[in-house]
């Protein structure tokens, strides 16, 4: 009996100890995954990038390059604040580049059959670093995205970043070139090109040219590089445009339009949220530019909004961007062929290439008119070919001023690229900003407060009218 009691006791204690250990082994979150397929991560990267870009940079700073007369909460007066800087910096580094680094590492580890995935990750990484530097100038680049080895990344100069971006794009193109016949299916994750690597190669080359145009502003030493890339396949047709397509429903709508729906109700034409500035209005409103009719709503001829006026949300007082542009399913266009054609025209005029400047200029105008006049997904208005012909005829002989003006218009609703064009070319003339604390238009953002407080290598913020390195 005594033995039985002791045995029972030992058994009970044994069971209890075992169950204690088991009870403690519960530290695994049942609602998350420990790994993720690139087809699941890439949609997050692209959509998060696009939505932050449209809702933050888009809605707040289209008046910096003065496409729009005035934006709510704009940093144009020189104060870039903590919200726009913090949100944008965090989006690029942690949500986009942080996820892409994992996708790229997994893809490279998987071998050549995942070259396509690694290339996509690299191209979008290069694009992101380019835009980061376009906004802030010097940024963490070579030591970025490796917290173990570089917990406080050093900042690289804009020149170093731009050259590094070119290298990443070359690496991506090399990966595409080395792809085997059978590669991983990334058609679900790649909501830009559906896994079409020919188009990704074109985009990579196009991005190279975009970067080289800024580098050339400082030195013609890159002319050979430019010549080389001009012979590579680039985005040459609106069907190859790099777009993120939104849908005409509340869940997947472009935030440019959604802002109006949520805050004001109705459409932009009725609510008057986005009004072209007199700068962009006047440039569109010449030479019978057919884009004016489909992009600008001005039934009463009120004209563009003076940059001095706060006309945000003032329906009917001035011209507004048309509903053909600002709509739920307006795609976020990241690269259009017209940009390439206009670069080609510019480079031909500068003697860098032997292209026909006039032909490339006209091609760029035609591509852009066709984009807004029908090729843009979900277009609700079209431009007749005859109207395009008439416009091209009216605009006459190409010169640098005209190319730069058209590059400026071509980048409509691409605020960072438009800002780059203005800072690079100084065209068109920017109007004085009322109540500004700086001497020129905004030239750069202050660094994100979280980076300042956690990274001792962050340079001291320069005044926000300090020109970018690439400017002359």
């Amino acid at each position: 009996m005594k033995f039985l009691k002791i045995f029972s006791l030992i058994l009970f204690v044994g069971v209890l100890v075992t169950s204690c250990e088991k009870a403690l082994d519960i530290n695994t979150n049942p609602l998350v995954a420990t790994s993720a397929d690139p087809n699941a991560v890439l949609p997050f990267v692209f959509v998060q990038y696009s939505n932050r870009h449209t809702s933050e940079l888009g809605t707040r700073m289209m008046d910096v390059p003065q496409h729009i007369g005035s934006c709510f909460n704009s940093p144009r007066g020189g104060n870039t604040g903590s919200t726009i800087t913090g949100n944008t910096w965090g989006m690029y580094y942690t949500q986009v580049l942080g996820n892409l680094a994992l996708v790229e590492a997994d893809a490279l580890a998987a071998g050549t059959t995942s070259n396509n995935i690694a290339a996509i990750a690299k191209i979008f990484k290069a694009k992101s670093f380019f835009e980061l530097s376009s906004i802030w100038g010097d940024i963490p680049f070579r030591q970025a995205l490796d917290g173990v080895q570089f917990p406080t990344p050093e900042f690289d100069t804009q020149e170093e970043v731009f050259n590094g971006v070119l290298t990443i794009l070359d690496e991506a193109i090399a990966l595409i070139d080395a792809m085997p016949a059978e590669v991983a299916d990334v058609s679900i994750g790649d909501l830009i090109y559906g896994g079409d690597m020919d188009k990704w190669r074109r985009w990579a080359n196009s991005l190279k040219l975009r970067v080289l145009m800024l580098l050339r502003n400082k030195s013609t030493a890159v002319d050979n590089e430019i010549t080389k890339v001009l012979s590579e396949p680039m985005i040459e047709d609106n069907s190859q445009a790099a777009l993120i397509r939104y849908a005409d429903n509340a869940s997947e709508a472009n935030s440019w339009a959604r802002l109006i729906t949520n805050f004001f109700g109705g459409t932009n034409e009725a609510a008057g949220v986005y009004s072209p500035s007199t700068v962009s209005y006047d440039l569109f409103n010449q030479n019978d530019d057919p884009r004016f009719g489909v992009m600008i709503f001005d039934p009463n001829g009120n004209g563009g909004s003076d940059i001095a006026e706060a006309v945000f949300g003032a329906p009917g007082s001035k011209a507004h961007v048309s509903n053909n542009v600002v709509r739920n399913d307006m795609p976020h266009n990241m690269f259009l062929p017209s940009e390439i054609s206009l670069y080609r025209a510019e480079l031909a005029l500068l003697g860098v290439s032997s292209d026909d400047a006039q032909a490339e200029f006209e091609k760029g105008l035609r591509q852009n008119c066709e984009y807004w006049g029908g090729d843009i997904p979900g277009a609700t208005a079209t431009i007749a070919t005859a109207d395009i012909d008439n416009f091209i005829s009216n605009i006459g002989t190409v010169d640098l001023q005209k190319v730069h003006e058209q590059l400026y218009l071509e980048s409509f609703f691409r605020p960072v690229i438009a800002w780059n064009t203005v800072r690079r070319t100084k065209v068109p003339d920017m109007l004085a900003v009322p109540g500004t604390a700086i001497s020129t238009i905004l030239k750069r953002f202050n660094y994100a407060p979280d980076e300042v407080s956690s990274n001792p290598n962050t340079p001291t913020n320069l005044p926000t009218d300090t020109p970018m390195w690439f400017e002359n």
């Binding site: 204690v13 209890l16 204690c20 009870a23 403690l24 519960i26 695994t28 979150n29 609602l31 998350v32 995954a33 420990t34 993720a36 699941a40 991560v41 949609p43 997050f44 959509v47 696009s50 939505n51 932050r52 449209t54 809702s55 933050e56 707040r60 104060n79 903590s82 919200t83 910096w89 965090g90 580094y93 942690t94 996820n99 680094a101 970025a144 995205l145 490796d146 917290g147 917990p151 406080t152 990344p153 679900i188 909501l191 509340a250 869940s251 997947e252 935030s255 802002l259 729906t261 949520n262 805050f263 004001f264 949300g313 994100a448 407060p449 979280d450 980076e451 407080s453 956690s454 990274n455």
Partner: protein
């Protein structure tokens, strides 16, 4: 583990036996026969069995079988030991001023004489808590306990309050004490559903549901030595709530208590609005410029468009900017009914409480109903059981939003001099359901916001505990205690279709469920080794399991207004959350007492936590405390010196971390975030999305280590009429487990790791005195003082400061290596020699400097002054709080000044405005007085926050408040005898009576944007001021 499981086994086996005990009743009086209220009665040799006397000096106590001696004691009176005879009634009279024998509840619910304790424990009795009842029990501790800092989030009904004991020593926000009710831990967490920066909805902290009428006493355990038996969860102190037990009247009838209060609530502080200048800018009238009063001087001039109506008419100023037409008078009804009875075999107490409030914010209300039942059964002399159940149902509507980026925020800067709030009524076209009487089509009618947009909470809380004690032999007992805390917190927010900024209409549902299951099994053996040496050993085992789950639905784009079904919404985003954690603990405590004047307590506890790495999940921590009553040991007592005790303690405490923090994970993304709440949802184009976590998980995570040390003295003079309690404490917190912000350029925002060292040290003292004590008049006064300094000794390599909470623009709360918990913000650019702002010569405006610290957000010290006067049957009591030091940023003040809304902005408004405080830089680097005029006074005030500068709205947060006044009158018993009423008291009571002194203009400096869950002291933004509450009270006892 094996030892503890053995103990557990023994206890469970022991529970099977049932034996008998007896109930002793009686009264405790002084020599004059006056009842002593709150006198302690404990069973000798089983000091964890005891009670206190009630308002009549009566007591009822279950005495375990075999024990025959009771110890009676009362502050300022001698102790009596009485041996039980045949009778179960024992009346005792105590001699005044002989020995201190106050009994306090310590860790695990063990009652001990305070003289035996080597650490600091503060006790608050029932009558102090119900004198002017608080709707959140946390606030009732304000000013009454040394070393306790309470902050609240303003005048919202059902808002949260945060309590911190002896300063901040955790950078990970683990500064909230453990709350324990009748020996069972319960959660004081705050479920925060919405980002505080983009529209904060502050709802109550978990402990707020405790009904003050049900509380017998509260013990505040301050140091780690006091809380060591509770383990890591009480590293920041513990608050032990003991609820009232059942007892009957002396005449054998049940005892009935009724306590009713009615109070009116008004905003405590409103801005000093200017009434001279109209809405507008640059002296130009603009009827749409609400909150921006830089228009023309108001002289009765006719304008073409008056605000809201658009009609022409004369411009007139509205009293106090119409703030009193918007914020109303709140009403608070607090009613409690309790019935209790007890006899030898069993006792019970049933209490029904109701709190019904309407708030000062239009459309806000709160109803809280409490049912609590506590009962004890004596199965035999050797076995007794007790259980308690409290069910609390809280429904609130219309909680105001604070913070920013939410259309529902209405702050003090939402009012204007020429805007009559009454014009906003009505706010809805009843037929069409559309918003009317708006200032502009894109701004909301404030009454629409308050009456059509919902912000509701429905909370059901169940607190249960069951304990059974088995006493097989006289000096040995075993107690098993089980507790379960269940909280179902349902919230509903909506923006009615047609709300500007949320035109399409939306609604959000949050369902939070939080449970805690706790078991303690404790064995206690007591032995008198000889007449001088006493020994007590305790051993126990603890199992604690906590679960949290949330289910959330955010729907927008409603087809039919006010139909809150997912099928009526174009977008529905559903998310879930879940955490679970388990803690096992085994503990022991050994007490050695020598000659009633020297007492040594040693404790040890080992915890095993599920949240730490399996191989490193065990941590042990010891404590030691020593109490020395030197007045007895050295026989120093005299007419002047009555009592003296020295105490010292040391404790080491470990700490775990939160669940699920060790693995690297990818989270399914429900949406992609955007500015202005412009999210895009997944599936997007049919694609699902996953995103990596933003925190790098830790490698080789270690438990946190906290060492704390305390010395103190208790001294009594003049027959106990004057008392002094003083303590010095120091805490060193190493290896804190922190989500360390890292540069986002690494691809991640945070790294979870062990970092640094934080030291906290301070002193506290309290003085209690009875300057006058006669039969007709008694004056009791108490002053308590506490000062705690937090020093961040070390962070981690290469990191000089860590952001603990970010606010707006450049403002953040940071832990600074070599410093403390400090408010960082962008200052004005200043001349290093004169420290005067350097003026921009082209504009006359101040300029932005480099981000800097404005000092600690924590107070240098806080003091409480409590006075109680008894004149015959009248009683008057009042409490004053003084908080000194600490800085705060007020966005409300910033907006009030920026918008020209307040008095100071009228100075020199129409003349040439030169910032005389500023200097201009000379070419040689010297400075001269500024003589550059600004464009206007408007340019000065509205440029103060340019480029993210916050200096102009950062203030010293010191204040003095008259916290509480209560006047009561007890009707003489001779008048009540015929009515069979044993007690009737009527009174006037007032809470949060007056802000006597403050350095922050226009607002209540106590309000805080961050609720109880964060350490974000020092930031205010659009919080509703706390309220002054004045009313009447009736207490009736049958």
């Amino acid at each position: 583990m094996k030892k503890t499981t053995l103990v557990l086994l023994l206890f469970f086996c022991a529970m099977g036996t049932m034996l008998a005990q007896r109930t002793i009743t009686g009264t405790v009086t002084d020599n004059a026969g006056e009842a002593l209220i709150g006198a302690s009665v404990i069973v000798k040799s089983s000091e964890n069995v005891g009670t206190t006397t009630d308002i009549d000096g009566s007591y009822s106590l279950e005495v375990p079988a075999g024990l025959t001696v009771l110890i009676y004691s009362y502050t300022g009176y001698g102790t009596e030991e009485m041996t039980l005879g045949a009778s179960n009634i024992l009346n005792v009279s105590l001699e005044e001023g002989v020995l201190v024998g106050e009994v306090v509840v310590t860790a695990l619910g063990i009652e001990r004489e305070s003289k035996d304790l080597g650490y600091s424990v503060a006790k608050i009795d029932s009558d102090e808590l119900v004198r002017a009842r608080e709707t959140n029990i946390v606030n009732a501790l304000q000013g009454k306990v040394t070393g306790v800092q309470v902050s609240n989030s303003g005048g919202n009904l059902g808002g949260s309050s945060k309590i911190v004991i002896r300063g901040v020593n955790s950078l990970a926000g683990r500064n909230n004490p453990l709350w324990v009710i009748d020996g069972v831990p319960f959660n004081n967490a705050q479920n925060s559903g919405i980002d505080r920066i983009s529209g904060n909805r502050d709802f109550a902290n978990g402990a707020s549901v405790v009904n003050p009428d049900d509380i017998e006493s509260i013990s505040v355990l301050k140091g780690a030595a006091a809380t060591a038996l509770y383990g890591s969860r009480a590293a920041a102190g513990a608050i032990l709530v003991t609820t009232k037990s059942g007892k009957g009247n002396k005449n054998g009838n049940p005892r009935v208590e009724i306590n009713s209060s009615y109070r009116q609530d008004r905003l405590l502080v409103t801005p000093d609005y200017q009434q001279e200048y109209a809405m507008g800018s640059q002296f130009k009238y603009d009827s749409s410029s609400v909150g921006f009063d830089w228009g023309p001087k108001i002289v009765g001039q006719n304008v073409r468009s008056l605000p809201v109506t658009g009609e022409s008419g004369p411009l007139t100023a509205v009293d106090d900017n119409g703030i009193n037409d918007f914020f109303g008078t709140g009403n608070t009804f607090i009613n409690n009914f309790a019935i209790s009875d007890g006899n030898e075999k069993m006792n019970y107490r049933l209490s029904l409480g109701a709190l019904n409030q309407t708030g000062v914010v239009p459309g806000s209300s709160l109803d809280r109903y409490t049912i609590s039942l506590k009962s004890g059964v004596k199965h035999s002399d050797k076995l007794r059981s007790d259980f308690g159940v409290q069910f609390i149902k809280t429904d609130s509507e219309g909680t105001a939003a604070a913070g920013a980026n939410d259309p529902n925020i209405i702050g003090y800067s939402s009012f204007s001099s020429t805007l009559d709030q009454n014009l906003f009524k009505p706010w809805i076209d009843e037929e069409l359901g559309t918003q009317i009487n708006q200032l502009t089509p894109t701004s909301n009618n404030p009454f629409w916001i308050r009456n059509e947009n919902r912000n509701d909470r429905d909370d059901s809380r169940l607190l249960t505990n069951f304990s059974t004690t088995y006493t097989p032999i006289e000096n040995l007992n075993f107690t098993a205690r089980v507790g379960y805390d269940f909280d179902q917190d349902n919230r509903f927010f909506s923006n009615r279709k047609g709300t500007a900024q949320r035109i399409v209409g939306d609604f959000t549902i949050n369902k939070f469920n939080r449970t805690q299951f706790n078991i303690d099994v404790i064995g206690n053996y007591k032995m008198d080794i000889n007449d001088d040496l006493k020994f007590n050993i305790l051993g126990g085992f603890n199992y604690n399991k906590r679960k949290f789950s949330s289910e959330n639905l955010a729907s927008s784009d409603l087809l039919v207004a006010e139909l809150f079904s997912p099928g009526n919404a174009a977008t529905n985003v559903a998310t879930r959350g879940f955490t679970e954690q388990v803690l096992f603990g085994a503990y022991t405590s050994i007490d050695l007492g020598y000659k009633d004047y020297l007492n040594l307590t040693l404790t040890g506890r080992n915890d095993w936590s599920s949240t730490l790495p399996i191989d490193n999940n065990s941590y042990f921590y010891p404590s030691a405390s020593l109490a020395f009553v030197f007045s007895d040991a050295l026989d120093l007592t005299s007419n002047v010196f009555s009592y003296g005790k020295l105490r010292a303690s040391f404790a080491q405490v470990g700490n775990d971390t939160g669940p699920y923090q060790l693995d690297f994970n990818f989270f399914p993304a429900a949406s992609a975030s955007g500015q202005y709440s412009l999210g895009v949802n997944f599936p997007f184009d049919g694609r699902l999305a996953f995103a990596k976590a933003n925190t790098i998980p830790p490698e080789n995570l270690l438990p946190e280590r906290q060492n704390s040390f305390e010395v103190g003295a208790e001294l009594k003079f003049f027959d106990y009429k004057l008392g002094l309690d003083v303590a010095y404490f120091a805490t060193r917190n190493n290896d804190q487990i922190l989500r360390l912000p890292i540069p986002e350029s690494t691809g991640f925002g945070f790294l979870r790791t062990n970092v640094g060292q934080v030291n906290t040290s301070g002193i506290e003292f309290s003085i209690n005195a009875t300057p006058i004590s006669t039969k007709m008049f008694q004056w009791n006064t108490a002053v308590n003082f506490s000062s705690a300094k937090t020093e961040v000794v070390e962070l981690t390599e290469g990191v000089e400061r860590i952001q603990l909470a970010s606010a707006f623009t450049s403002v953040s709360v940071q832990a600074v290596e070599g410093g403390g918990i400090e408010l960082f913000a962008t200052p004005f650019l200043r001349d290093s020699l004169t420290n005067r702002p350097i003026i921009n010569p082209s504009t006359g405006e101040r300029q932005a400097g480099e981000l800097k610290s404005f000092g600690s957000v924590l107070p240098d010290f806080s003091m409480g002054f409590i006075n109680n006067f008894s004149i015959g049957d009248f009683n008057l009591s009042c409490t004053i709080d003084w908080r000194s030091g600490g800085v705060m940023k007020s966005s409300t003040v910033e907006n009030l000044q920026n918008g020209g809304l307040v008095q100071e902005t009228t100075q020199n408004r129409e003349g040439t405005f030169i910032d005389k405080e500023g200097v201009l830089l000379n070419p040689d680097g010297t400075t001269r007085d500024n003589d550059i005029p600004l464009a206007s006074a408007q340019a000065f005030w509205s440029s103060l926050d340019n480029n993210g500068v916050s200096e102009a709205s950062i203030f010293d947060a010191s204040f003095v408040k008259l916290r509480e006044i209560a006047i009561s009158y007890n009707l003489p018993k001779s008048l009540l005898a015929n009515a069979k009423i044993s007690g009737l008291s009527i009174g006037l009571e007032a809470r949060n009576v007056a802000l006597i002194w403050s350095k922050v203009p226009h607002i209540d400096p106590e309000t805080n944007l961050f609720g109880s869950g964060l350490d974000g002291f020092g930031v205010e933004r659009s919080n509703i001021s706390s309220t002054r509450s004045v009313g009447v009270n009736l207490k009736l006892t049958f």
